[in-house]
Every structure is written in structure tokens, then in C-alpha cells.
């Protein structure tokens, strides 16, 4: 089987379970393709040799009852992996080797998957284009010099480019859904509290969630089933009954009420996005669902709120990087000088900018005007969703206000970069699940995504809607392998 890397996760699992393929066959195929794909710069750390050994070991005594039997998988370099360097895309963690494993990755290995390597991302997950990574830009497999989105840019590029059958990313303001949309793949941000944050390098603790990034909705449901678990090691992990998402997946969404929020029709939104949204509305109707016009009146306040809350939490979380116990250290004349130089040389420009915003909004005299104000507006944004969900079962919006842009196009203007997340940020602020599915192409042939937002803990419902729409849309990603010589 020469086209192993073209197979979906579901197909690979089936072929390994029926012994048509061995874990070694599959692992070798993804390693070979990854080796030929260096130009994408999707990996920060490769662990190929050890992956192959693990695959061989798996094949000697295969446990085919597992959900991910011998499946190779690369993961975002924001997840701590025991004894494997974990950088968060930063110089300051350039040489950090965790002594423990994140719960989410542990869940994955416990189901039989094998680590291929660690994937590139924006530094500390702060970015929308993967251009803030200390380890350089990531190329979008869709076209040369196109950003893959961010912060899970390496993850998106690796799935779309078929360097890994599936992966996980993290999403604080859109970091799974926006890159999924830019690369023509499926990305799910679960409900806050669904997947443990233990062992994930923290950015903004009240917003961060891990989630799957996949070639299709079924694969996405399967991985969500594996990674979502109650974890006492995360104080905000929530103990609720989790579904067998992939087994319970159905395309029957008859009678579901889908909200269409008028505030997502923003000024200057390209016609292509509006047209895509209208097509999406037609698709859900074709599936037997009903659409309802709704209002989320505080939508335009979500981004300003996010740019207070997220940097505030980041400035506190990133205070630990002081050059003392781990990571990079610069030479200083005394302790304070060492701290200041370490952080100045160790953090990139975007991370420094956000730490400073966060420090400012939390500083004496400004706390009430900014941070407290933002927490209040956050409440209003959550209330908007609570009100909407009295009338509808889910909400349909575009995933992003544009398709992927060129590398370097938005790096000079932080606010224009931030606007990328205009449709995804409200979902994080309200702690809700959201999924982006590929739904069409723009005039350049670049993919465009639609987002389905659910009620808290209602992942099954949005996965079902996505599954039903996926069948109607019948999206084909245009990957030309331009980077393979």
C-alpha cells in the first residue's frame, strides 16, 4: 500500500486491526513523508528512530483492542512529553526536558498511539500565523509562502500535508479552529474543562483547551473520545458523563435548531465568506435542520475583552520563566539584572508585548478600568450565548474573516493580526465547544471553514452536525505536494 499517508485515521485503525497493515508499515510511511517534507518546517523535534522501535515492539505483541493501535502521531510542542524536549516554540524553553507527561498525551499513548515528534507553534501559543515561533515559519501545504494559521500551525500543516494521520492542538482564542480553516482540515475546541490542562504549557488558564485536528469529522470524534477525561490533576477539569463520540456519531440532525447570529456579519468581510456562510445555511437545511436568526449583541466586544483577559493571565503564567530552575538564562550583573536580561533575550517580541499588556492591565490604578471591566463584559458575552441557547441547539458561523494570508503580510500590525480570531474568541470566553470544518475554497483555491458552536458539554451534537454537513459539502483539499522535490 503506497498510499498509506493518504488514509484517514479511521481507515488506518481498521487496517491495523484487520492486520492488513502493521504499525511498522504505517509508522515508516509517515516518517518517510515527514523526512521529505522538511521545507514545511512543521516539526520542532523529531523522534523518528524511537517511534520506529515502538512500532516494531507494538507489532510483536499487538493489542488490537486499543482505540489507536500502533498509530503514529506527532503533537503540538506545547504538550509536555516525558524525557522529550518541550519548547512551546520559545527560546526560553529551548532546552527544557519535562520529567512528566501531559494528561492528554498520556491518554493518547495509553490507547496505543506512538509519538512521532513535536510540532511547531507560535511562541507560547501567542499568534495567528505561526510566525512568532523561535523555530521559524511553518509553510501551509496549500501553497508556498502561505501561513498555516496559528498558533497550532505546525499541527495544521502536518495533518493537511499528511505527515501525521491526526494530531492535537490547543486553542485559547482560535488556535485550533483558525489553522484548521486555513489548511482545509477539521479542528475541535472542546468545552472548557473537557480535556485536562495538566502538563500543557500554560498561556491563559481560564481559556486554554486542548483538542483534536483531523482530516475528517469521524477521526476528530475518535480522538476527542480518547483525550477527554476527568483529571484530578487539573483543578478546573470537570467530571461529566463523556460520550463515545465516534461510536455515537450520526448524520441525523433532523429538527435541530441552528442559530445564525447577525453580529457575525462584520464590516469589510469578503463576499466569499458571506457566500460560504449562506451555502452552509443551505447545507444544514438540506440535512433537515431548521435555521433561526439570533442575536449575540456583545460579539464586537469579545476581541477587546480577550486582549485584556488573555494577556493578564499570560503575564502571571509566564512569570515563572526567570532563568533559575529551567530554560534559557542570560548573564546578569546581579539577580534582578539576570531576570530582566533572561526575559528580554528569551522571549520573542509578541510574547513580550502581551506580558506588558497583561502587566499594565493588572497594575495598581488600572485593574478596575481594564481587568475588572473585561471580566464584566465577559459575563455579558456568556449571557448572550446562554440566551441564544434557550432558542437553538447550536450556532453556525464562518470560522475566520478571511482565507490564509501570505507570510509577512500582517506581522507589522498586531491589531490586524488579532482580528483573525474575531469569530473564534467569543467561544473561548464563554467556555463553549466549537468545531471548524472545511466548507469551500476562495478564488485562489485556498480553503475556507465554517464553525459550529455548541452548548457546554454538547460536543456530540456539534460533531453530529459537522458530520452531516461534511457529507453534503464533500470538500476535497487541494494538496499538490509542491514542497516535495
Amino acid at each position: 500500500m503506497s498510499d498509506i499517508t493518504k488514509q484517514s485515521l479511521t481507515e488506518l485503525v481498521k487496517n491495523i486491526k484487520s492486520k492488513k497493515l502493521s504499525s511498522t508499515d504505517v509508522t515508516k510511511a509517515f516518517i518517510e513523508r515527514s523526512e521529505k517534507s522538511k521545507e514545511l518546517n512543521a516539526y520542532i523535534t523529531e523522534d523518528f528512530k524511537s517511534a520506529l522501535n515502538k512500532a516494531k515492539k507494538f507489532d510483536q505483541k499487538p493489542n488490537l483492542d486499543l482505540k489507536l493501535p500502533g498509530i503514529p502521531m506527532a503533537v503540538k510542542d506545547l504538550f509536555c512529553t516525558k524525557n522529550i524536549k518541550t519548547t512551546a516554540g520559545s527560546k526560553i524553553l529551548n532546552n527544557f526536558v519535562p520529567t512528566y507527561e501531559s494528561t492528554v498525551t498520556e491518554n493518547i499513548w495509553n490507547e496505543g498511539a506512538i509519538l512521532l515528534g513535536k510540532l511547531n507553534c507560535d511562541e507560547f501559543a501567542m499568534g495567528s500565523s505561526n510566525e512568532t515561533s523561535f523555530f521559524g515559519n511553518v509553510q501551509n501545504p496549500i501553497d508556498k509562502n502561505l501561513v498555516p494559521g496559528g498558533s497550532s500551525g505546525g499541527s495544521a500543516s502536518a495533518v493537511a500535508g499528511q505527515l501525521t494521520p491526526i494530531t492535537i492542538g490547543t486553542d485559547t482564542g482560535g488556535s485550533i479552529r483558525q489553522p484548521a480553516s486555513f489548511t482545509g482540515i477539521v479542528g475541535l475546541k472542546p468545552t472548557y474543562g473537557s480535556c485536562s490542562r495538566y502538563g500543557i504549557v500554560a498561556f491563559a488558564s481560564s481559556l486554554d483547551q486542548a483538542g483534536p485536528m483531523a482530516q475528517n469529522v469521524k477521526d476528530c470524534a475518535l480522538l476527542q473520545e480518547v483525550i477527554s477525561s476527568y483529571d484530578p490533576k487539573d483543578s478546573t477539569s470537570i467530571d461529566f458523563k463523556r460520550n463515545q463520540y465516534s461510536k455515537e456519531l450520526t448524520n441525523n440532525i433532523k429538527g435541530k435548531k441552528i442559530g445564525i447570529p447577525k453580529e457575525y456579519r462584520v464590516d469589510g468581510m469578503p463576499k466569499e465568506i458571506e457566500d460560504l456562510w449562506q451555502k452552509g445555511i443551505q447545507y444544514v437545511k438540506d440535512c433537515g435542520a431548521e435555521t433561526v436568526d439570533i442575536s449575540l449583541p456583545h460579539t464586537s466586544y469579545a476581541l477587546p475583552t480577550y486582549y485584556i483577559v488573555a494577556p493578564a493571565e499570560a503575564s502571571s503564567n509566564l512569570a515563572r520563566y526567570d532563568g533559575v530552575k529551567y530554560g534559557f538564562r542570560a548573564k546578569g550583573e546581579n539577580l534582578i539584572d539576570m531576570y530582566e536580561k533572561t526575559r528580554s533575550e528569551g522571549f520573542g517580541a509578541e510574547v513580550q508585548r502581551r506580558i506588558m499588556i497583561g502587566t499594565y492591565v493588572l497594575s495598581s490604578g488600572y485593574y478596575d478600568a481594564y481587568y475588572l471591566k473585561a471580566q464584566k463584559v465577559r459575563k455579558l458575552i456568556k449571557n448572550d450565548f446562554d440566551d441564544a441557547y434557550k432558542k437553538v441547539d447550536a450556532i453556525l458561523t464562518p470560522s475566520t474573516p478571511s482565507s490564509a494570508f501570505k507570510i509577512g503580510e500582517k506581522t507589522d500590525d498586531p491589531v490586524s493580526m488579532y482580528l483573525n480570531d474575531i469569530f473564534t474568541v467569543p467561544v473561548n470566553l464563554a467556555g463553549l465547544p466549537g468545531i471548524s470544518i472545511p466548507a469551500g475554497h476562495d478564488s485562489n483555491g485556498y480553503p475556507l471553514g465554517l464553525q459550529i458552536i455548541g452548548k457546554a458539554f454538547d460536543e456530540q451534537n456539534i460533531l453530529n452536525i459537522a458530520f452531516a454537513m461534511e457529507e453534503k459539502i464533500n470538500f476535497k483539499n487541494k494538496i499538490t505536494d509542491w514542497w516535495i522535490k
Partner: protein, 95 residues
């Protein structure tokens, strides 16, 4: 409002990130454009709104205070940027 160089120096001190003049100028420009954008929140009256501190509607759980990891001191110290067997080393603090 406008964030001047003096404020940038103050935030930089609080953040423990040293910035030179050139960086400070650039940061002042960036932060001003970001705060212009944030000011939009002042359009909203929020006097009677209760702040949302967490979307997770759970109370924090208690657990027994037990040591769970064993013998990882060596590994932990190994991540220290300055080589030493038993301690984390920092520049001299007391003269």
C-alpha cells in the same frame, strides 16, 4: 489615553523585561494601537454586572497533601541552566 515612554519603562520594570530606547519606542506605538482598540469596552455600562472569573461552574476540590513523585530531584536539577549537583544557582544576592 496614551502610553508614554515613562509608562513603558515602568511596565518593563514590573514585567522584569529589560527594554532599550528603540524597543521602548516601538512598544509604546504597539501598545497605544492595542489600547485604542481595547477602549471600545468603555461604550458599555457594566456597573451592575457581576464579573465572570471562571466559566467552569465547580468549586475547587480538596485533596490530601501527599507526595506523589519519587526521586526526580536529579532530573529536575538537570534542567537548571547552571550546572550544579544539588541546588539551583543564581548570581550572588547578599554582599
Amino acid at each position: 489615553m496614551s502610553i508614554d515612554l515613562k509608562t513603558i519603562k515602568h511596565i518593563s520594570k514590573l514585567s522584569r523585561i529589560s527594554v532599550d530606547e528603540k524597543r521602548a519606542q516601538k512598544l509604546a506605538g504597539d501598545l497605544n494601537s492595542i489600547f485604542d482598540f481595547i477602549e471600545k469596552l468603555n461604550e458599555l455600562k457594566t456597573d451592575n454586572v457581576k464579573p465572570l472569573t471562571s466559566v467552569a461552574v465547580t468549586t475547587l476540590r480538596l485533596r490530601p497533601d501527599e507526595v506523589k513523585s519519587k526521586n526526580i530531584r536529579e532530573q529536575i536539577v538537570k534542567n537548571s541552566p547552571q550546572d550544579n549537583e544539588d541546588y539551583f544557582v543564581v548570581p550572588k544576592v547578599i554582599e
